[in-house]
Assembly symmetry: C2
Homo-oligomer: 335 residues x 2
């Protein structure tokens, strides 16, 4: 491996001159700059990342704690991760992947061993144990997702409450007065994932504000379970004329069951989904709905966390406005 000393020798300058040339932290004459550039190219020099990290106290690495469970919103998680990884590389940083299961200890470890400069934490729960630790460690951090107890920490997220409201409002405008929301699996609510709670809360408040009939329930991904649940709910009075689905895993079951019950979408019943665009479009009827702008949020998270690393104190939390895309699964209520 060629070192900075090799480059210095080859270019006939001192090691520090090479370092300053590479970092641009001190003025260097054009001629030596060129000579060094040539030596670097000729020798194929690449600074040793660990030596650089040790000396500069910057690893140029970001920890990303992602929920890698076999949940149902895997594609969304993947989009987040992809967006974050790409954004990090754009800023010349790498991603160290931590799993949610490492929890508090994972955060503590990467901080105390000085492995990373900052951490991005996904899937925040209402009483997330990692939050007090993040505050205590003083490690630059950004949350993707939020909770009321996030005070003092910087976060970015889709405005799930308004996303739910947007769905309800769209249906209200179409004249629907009875809406059923099929939520995420029960486990998601049990662990009190911020996004699920926010969506449910947004749904409830929108329903109340518009004075319509609206109820919701968690739903498990297995086809038969989802199907049975839907059928049971549709048997209740008043019978829902529209569905809001916050669970991409059951979309197939929902649409299949509606067909079995001879309910046409959107003529007999409207469906709005919160899911990636790809998923919405791949259903038998292209679904109206809100997508999580995962890539965008991921990029924002990286930029926000790097700003903290660079000591820009003006940390700003960001709540991203939902965008409802109207496709073919919603229509005015007739009857």
């Amino acid at each position: 491996m060629v070192t900075i000393a090799d480059v210095a020798r080859h270019a006939g300058v001192s090691v520090s001159t090479v370092s300053y040339t590479l970092s641009g932290k001190r003025p260097i004459s054009a001629s030596t700059r060129e000579r060094i550039a040539r030596s670097v190219a000729e020798l194929g020099y690449r600074p040793n990342a660990t030596a650089q990290a040790l000396a500069s106290k910057r690893t140029n690495t970001l920890a990303l704690m992602a929920p890698l469970r076999a949940d149902n919103n895997v594609p969304v998680i993947m989009q987040f991760v992809a967006g974050i990884a790409a954004a990090a590389r754009d800023h010349d940083h790498d991603i160290l992947l931590l799993t949610q299961s490492e929890g508090v200890e994972g955060v503590r470890r990467v901080r105390e061993t000085a492995l990373v400069d900052a951490v991005i934490v996904m899937d925040i729960e209402a009483d997330d144990a990692r939050l007090p630790v993040l505050r205590a460690l003083g490690l630059p951090a950004v949350l993707i997702g939020t909770t009321q107890k996030a005070g003092g920490l910087v976060w970015v997220d889709l405005d799930f409450a308004r996303a739910a409201e947007a769905c309800v409002e769209h249906l209200v405008e179409l004249g629907h007065g009875s809406v059923l929301m099929l939520g995420s699996p029960g486990a998601v609510y049990e662990r009190r994932s911020g996004y699920a709670l926010a969506f449910a809360a947004g749904f409830e408040s929108a329903v109340r504000r518009h004075g319509i009939d609206g109820r919701w329930c968690p739903s498990e991904p297995a086809y038969q379970a989802a199907s049975a649940l839907l059928e049971r709910e549709l048997a209740k009075r008043p019978r829902p004329t529209a569905l809001v689905v916050h669970n991409e895993g059951i979309l197939g079951a929902v649409l299949g069951t509606l067909r079995r019950l001879d309910l046409r979408v959107p003529e007999d019943i409207s469906v709005v989904a919160l899911c990636p665009e790809q998923t919405a479009v791949n259903q038998v009827v292209e679904l109206t709905g809100v997508a999580v702008p995962a890539e965008q949020i991921g990029r924002a998270a990286v930029e926000m966390v790097l700003r903290q690393v660079d000591g820009d104190g003006t940390a700003q939390t960001r709540l991203i406005a939902p965008e409802l895309t109207i496709r073919q699964s919603t229509a005015a209520r007739h009857a």
Copy 2:
């Protein structure tokens, strides 16, 4: 941050003694070992990972190059990543996440900047440009997936050819003489992903060996596209009495279309799928099929790569036998 020198001072020993105690590389008396342990605990000492890496030339970090695209087998990818991350932590290593799009340069970079000890590369293509680079760099590496040009490199993968054969054989045993295989999206074959080619080749050879009628075609995930394709193919003679689906994204479309055509599964037509168990079970009919043992492969990859790092030259490539699980979507052909 507390350093090893602080611990040494606190315990009244030299720095090297602390180091040897922690690493166990030299015998230390029980009494000083205890004293040091107490100091470590009391001061909350954690070795600085970058200093450790610089001095020992081991980062305890593995690069994982994963295809984070919005493809259709996202859940499988996620399982691989989760398995790898967990296994790495079990061996006290971390994962540095690289995206497929970083390609050859990504591999070169992590090697030449000494960021990682080894690399795990996923989704190998027939003429993968990364393979010659891996060979040239001499960086410990394991491929997940393979190609004929993998010579000299260590890899691990599900035996996709035999997986396809297992599917065909199961159908042949049930008396099916005409089988249609619906493959992955065209783009997957265009980039010549090893697993897709292997599955298709295995399908073709099994069909030939059993002397049955069998054909296959790529299929895009959009519902209408998949549905139209299936309908078109079912109109051909001889009409397939069984389907093999190597594309989890179209399972909903396939089952929905079959129902629309009044073909009952499995009475009128059998369906076998290559997809995660979770996906197989969440369909309207629980699907017979082969699952990719992603977690298991991921763990194997980590262990194989660490063995290389530790200089165990007996590198062994591993081809994992497929397991077909019979559920409710296949039945003997009647008529």
